[in-house]
Symmetry: C2
Subunit: 187 residues, 2 copies
Amino acid sequence: MAKRKDIPRAEILDAAQALLCGRGYQGFSFRDLAAEIGISSASLHHHFPTKGDLCAAVVLRYRDALNLRLAALAAENEDWSRRWRLTAAELARSDGDGHLPGILAADFASLPAQAQQEARLLHGNLTGWLARFVTEAKKRSELPQEADAEALAHALLALLQGGLLLTRLGGPAVMDGALRQAGEWLA
Amino acid sequence: MAKRKDIPRAEILDAAQALLCGRGYQGFSFRDLAAEIGISSASLHHHFPTKGDLCAAVVLRYRDALNLRLAALAAENEDWSRRWRLTAAELARSDGDGHLPGILAADFASLPAQAQQEARLLHGNLTGWLARFVTEAKKRSELPQEADAEALAHALLALLQGGLLLTRLGGPAVMDGALRQAGEWLA
DNA sequence: GTCTATACAGGGATAGAC
DNA sequence: GTCTATCCCTGTATAGAC
């Protein structure tokens, strides 16, 4: 195999994230990932000693990036309607990996401990952002005062993740319909 | 190993379904399943030649049983409110495997062709029932005439499956909140 | 930091005896 | 219809040379 020097860590994480989201934790191997990048599996182990380390790193990076994007989104948009639509669009980008939380939930029992913990934190961050948006929307009278921020956050995230996953079984109509209906409910 | 004669097919499918739902398609092996039942893996292959056959049989049985239960539920309850609550309860039974569609969606890329097809059919059946319930509810003026049956069905199923899966990351509060919010939206 | 080579466990599946 | 034994492949991970 031709040598490639100084494979950037980000390139490994990119490919690992794509495989993880596409096939699940047990659906790809170090050899698959190595072949994808053009490197030996032994070299991968140099960067990430175990598969658990690799997976935890993927989720940690995803979580950090998502928190940054949602913070920016919140700073640039004050109204609930835009915040919701942009958050949903962020997770539903057709080229993206917004269903990572759902994948981690489905494969949870197979994940090593570090990755399980990262997955819980990711979910907590996401529901935290959504609940915060809802609370501020209530203050701005954009949502009814009776709205339960926690319940609404859980419902919206469940709808997004479920819609993204079920699209694999039912095609694009699934996510389209789910998002359209969510728009109706929130109007 | 002590011999066990005439292992009922249903017992194998029960154990296989539990493992599939708990760990995902790649999360259990014929040896795991065999040990669970108290049989040899070779005997399992006598009943189900390949893992794909086994998985497809699990989904087919689940689909048939679910269709029977939803048909009975529909026959015994004419109003939308009860139909929705009972359908949600059917999938959300804490001891049940109502998140099987979500698991199949997450592991879709790893499933053999027969199992993929069964998974699609299961999803089609579920959305079909929900859309039918919505359509009849509109006729009975229990839901607004503007309601889009397809979109509502996709949204509700996504919420249920997403909620069931994300419960693994966020605990019971996830499904509780999602169901409470769905009740608000549908009220 | 990358490679080749390899160890070792586990998974799917089969052969053939009982 | 079940078993034991086995084949062959793949997966994770390591050793040690360059």
